[in-house]
């Protein structure tokens, strides 16, 4: 990878993180109830887009920039885990379990959907 690619990874990575922060905060501030909807929305939309990229057979630098840099910093595993832990701490065991299971199911589904959309375009 060239120096320019590294620079672009840094910039797009920052943009992905900012986009996540904006969307997550927007949804969380409006959501009722305890379920961390913001993180779910971010991870699901990220999985859909990454699936789409894979379906479109994007490769090389384009995949690094769009996939690893942008979507990699947009989606978040650590936040998903931390918020699940906080739910368990607050005695919301069912919501915590739902947060893990729902994210998994919806996430894998979104990636598969994105992939098949990409493959058929």
């Amino acid at each position: 990878m060239s120096g320019w690619t590294w620079l672009a990874v840094a910039l797009l990575g920052g943009a992905g993180a900012s986009a996540r922060f904006l969307l997550d905060a927007l949804i969380s501030a409006r959501a009722r109830g305890d379920f961390p909807l913001g993180t779910l929305a971010v991870n699901t939309s990220g999985s859909l887009l990454l699936g789409l990229l894979a379906g479109l057979s994007v490769t090389a630098d384009a995949l690094v920039l769009a996939g690893t840099a942008t979507l990699g910093s947009y989606t978040t595993f650590s936040t998903w885990m931390l918020e699940t832990q906080r739910l368990a701490e607050d005695a919301r065991a069912r919501v915590a379990a739902a947060n893990v299971l729902l994210s998994l199911l919806v996430g894998v589904g979104a990636a598969a959907l994105g992939r098949s959309i990409g493959a058929h375009v």
Partner: protein, 357 residues
Amino acid sequence: MSQRLVKVTSYFGERDRVARRLLADELLDIYAEQRVHASILLRATEGFGRLHHVHTDRLLSLSEDLPVVSIALHRHTEVEALLQRVLAVKRRGLITLERARVLSSDDHGELVDGRREEAAKLTVWVGRGERVGDRPAFVAICDMLHRLGLDGASVLLGVDGLRGGRRMRARFFSRNADVPLMIECVGPREPVATALTELHRVLRDPVILRERALVCKRGGRLLAQPRALTDDERRAGLSQKLTVYSPHDARHRGRPLHLEIVRRLRTSEAAGVTSLTGVWGFHGVRPPHGDRLLQIHRHVPVATVTIDSPQRIARSFQIIDELTDEHGLVTSELVPAMRALNGVESAGVLRLDETAG
């Protein structure tokens, strides 16, 4: 001899800025300049204010601007000059004035033969790293208060503060031994008076405050309604403060009690609520406790505070009364002066009415 002090408390956002500086820093600078008796900055874990924006440490994206509480204790006679400076800072949030007394070791009598109320509230400020014998001071103090039979104590960690004119900010790579922490405890007057003597014996140079609080509920039992204000007090614009001290793992119908209180008060249009999570403490007979390694539920105390007009406090108390049917120590206090700041208009004047309270 006890000394009369005024407690100036500001509630605002951790990230609020004035002229590109953090508001919390700006206030502490003013406090240092005015040589206040002592000051502490506390970080809350949950809360909402006048605009009903919720901040919580439960969701990552909503935890970047948590509510903070900045408290300054100042000599009663010099409070005018301090307020002039503090109110000149244009900002949002809430500011309150309350009366307090700093108790010295010979104020045992003042506590015992006080007037009408049967309970007393003490607030002890010590350094985070201060020790009594071979144990952290706050652990030793909680054990002592528990042994004396007080109703409860909560240790709230400061993140910044002033003591004897010296700034004590908590840093990441530091022991932070001098950063202040605050222990709020409530109990019947006799044991509280004994605790005062004992505290002065074991601590080097503590700040021990007496505040006037009424115990409304203890362990699910209703003891008193928040005091109904007289017509004079209402005209003077007095406000009231309710504090619920509860264990973090206390539940109301399976949900964390302190979160239910914040949620229900929010839908009831209460002016604002701030939840402060402590690090150590006790409630009733249960021995003092804190967090353990590898736990699922937390074992720390939480203090949930709401300040409002007397009418709305009466309504909020009904909600709190319903929620604290099993757990919780609920106290009510008088707030002689309060002002909600909108960040645009000047705050005007704020003074303690000498006739009221």
